[in-house]
């Protein structure tokens, strides 16, 4: 009977210690951000949407080959030894933001921007052409580093 009361005492004391922990954190400042107004700045290596600097692209197709989910597709015109880019299809729906294309590109024409808010109302808008300059205006201004 005695140790039942003793256990009861230890139990009650452990409850009070638990309350003390929550009380301690009750008066500490909050760690959360108010999302739409305050946004977390993305780090320098952050892998968001794929961005392109068309002038640097040498059409070596390395990025198309390495992409695990096959979301890049390039067509180019070849006139007497001079290759010009025609279309650079990028399908955001399949992209898994792994960063392999940006790592394998020899001239770092293709890079990962820091846009992560990708929401569309119509699925077809997820497949975009990286060549036209207005591609990311819909989401906050494109910050191609």
């Amino acid at each position: 009977m005695i140790n039942r009361v003793k256990n009861f005492g230890i139990g009650a004391w452990s409850l009070i210690k638990g309350l003390a922990v929550t009380l301690k954190y009750c008066f500490k400042p909050a760690v959360t951000l108010q999302y739409p107004t305050q946004k977390l700045p993305m780090t320098e290596r952050f892998r968001g949407l794929v961005g392109l600097r068309p002038e640097k692209c040498i059409m070596c197709y390395q990025c198309v080959k390495i992409c695990p989910t096959g979301c890049l597709a390039i067509t180019h015109k070849q006139e007497d030894k001079k290759k010009t880019l025609e279309t650079f299809k990028y399908n955001m729906e399949l992209c898994c933001f792994c960063g392999l294309c940006a790592q394998v590109c020899p001239t770092s024409a293709i890079i990962m921007t820091d846009i992560y808010e990708i929401t569309v109302y119509d699925r077809k808008k997820l497949a975009i052409n990286l060549l036209d300059p207005k591609k990311y205006d819909e989401w906050t201004g494109a910050t191609i580093k």
Binding site: I10, G11, A12, S14, L15, K17, G18, A20, V21, T22, Y25, V31, M42, T43, E44, R45, F46, R47, I66, C67, P68, C96, F97, C98, G99, L100, Q103, V104, M112
Partner: protein
């Protein structure tokens, strides 16, 4: 229960479906419970809702292309998945790694173990009814680790950081300060969890002697990781079959006594402390040099088979890779720890109450991405 008095009362067991969409099945797992009032007579799990047939995908991807897929296996500890897969391929190529690459991999894997255990501890407390408060504390600490990973490799959950032959980038400038500061910040927090949860009398009442897993049954079902150590089996790959540079650090392996839910939880809390010790020792003695070995862009391992396993936060994740000399692996088998850990749950749960199945399931800390592959 079947005295004369209850013989003539017609009672009937009813079938209750728990999942696949349920607050505490830790993913898309469906448990079919045959209930007699509150008591569970039988429990049959149905899995496969998240089956993406990773092994078939692996046969159509080159060795480097499959690394982002390993992130999606145990999505709570994706660094450790990368590590296991990449070590298997390096064993195929029998590649020798520079010291710095080993140390960086250990730091990153152990930090990810702390983050994964934080999720496990938070959701286990949530399952037992401590609504949201411990979970928020654990996620507040986990956020600090995610920031460090964000700085190192650029992503917050699916890191894709470890490459065949080393790591993708070297550690950025200020990271070792941040890691040391995190370790100092995290130690008192783990003591907080002890005060808030581990010795709380209601927490003890809910998880002591629930779902007791004896030693032999644990080994027989090949349960691995903290759930095995909770049953008193001192088996940790980092100590018994040291890979990378684990033999250079001293840490001890926490072991539970009678293998109930509380012991498994206690082992995880203890392991967080040990992982912090490893990270501290690794970051202090980080060697200089280039963390990657030059491996050609096209990786064609010689035709052979290899099995390599590492100590994941949930157990031993093994990769059996068969290569036939081409760029694609011929067969890639993923031995997932949660798959075998889940196989024990129906055995342990017979006769317990509905509230206990949630406790036992939470104490095994399963992740369905890894089970269904």
């Amino acid at each position: 229960m079947d005295t004369q008095q209850t013989k003539d009362i017609y009672t009937e067991e009813f079938l209750m479906n728990m999942g696949p969409q349920h607050p505490s099945t830790h993913g898309v797992l469906s448990l079919e419970l045959k209930l007699d009032g509150e008591f569970i007579r039988e429990c049959t799990p149905h899995i496969g809702y998240l089956h993406r047939s990773m092994e078939k995908i692996a046969e159509n991807r080159t060795y480097t292309q499959f690394i982002p897929f390993t992130d999606r296996l145990d999505y709570v500890a994706s660094m450790n998945n990368n590590l296991a897969y990449v070590m298997a391929v390096e064993k195929l190529l029998n590649l020798e790694l520079p010291e710095r690459a080993k140390y960086i991999r250990i730091i990153v894997a152990e930090l990810n173990r702390v983050a994964s255990h934080l999720v496990a501890v938070g959701t286990f407390a949530q399952d037992l009814g401590a609504f949201a408060t411990p979970l928020f504390y654990c996620f507040r600490e986990r956020e600090k680790i995610i920031d460090i990973f964000d700085q190192i490799c650029g992503n917050r959950l699916t890191y894709n950081y470890i490459r065949i032959g080393g790591v993708q980038f070297d550690l950025p400038a200020g990271v070792d300060e941040k890691v040391k500061e995190f370790v100092k910040y995290m130690r008192p927090k783990v003591d907080d969890y002890d005060r808030l949860l581990t010795y709380n009398t209601i927490f003890l009442a809910r998880s002591k002697d629930i779902g007791v897993l004896p030693r032999e049954m644990a080994i027989n079902y090949s349960v691995t990781g903290p759930s095995l150590r909770g049953s008193g089996v001192k088996w940790d790959l980092r100590k018994d079959e040291p890979y990378l540079a684990y033999d250079k650090f001293e840490f001890d392996v926490p072991v539970g006594e009678n293998g109930d839910a509380w012991d498994r939880y206690k082992v995880r809390v203890e392991e967080m402390r040990q992982s912090l010790r490893i990270v501290e020792q690794a970051i202090n003695t980080l060697p200089e040099g280039d963390p990657t070995v030059r491996v050609g862009r096209v990786i064609k391992p010689p035709p052979s088979e290899v099995y390599c396993r590492t100590e994941n936060p949930r157990g031993e994740l093994g990769f059996y890779v068969v290569s036939d000399g081409s760029v694609y692996p011929y067969r890639l088998k993923i031995r997932s720890p949660s798959f075998s850990n889940l196989a024990v749950v129906p055995e342990l749960v017979k006769g317990l109450k509905v509230a206990d199945i949630v406790c036992v399931l939470g104490s095994f800390d399963i992740v369905l991405g890894e089970i269904d592959r």
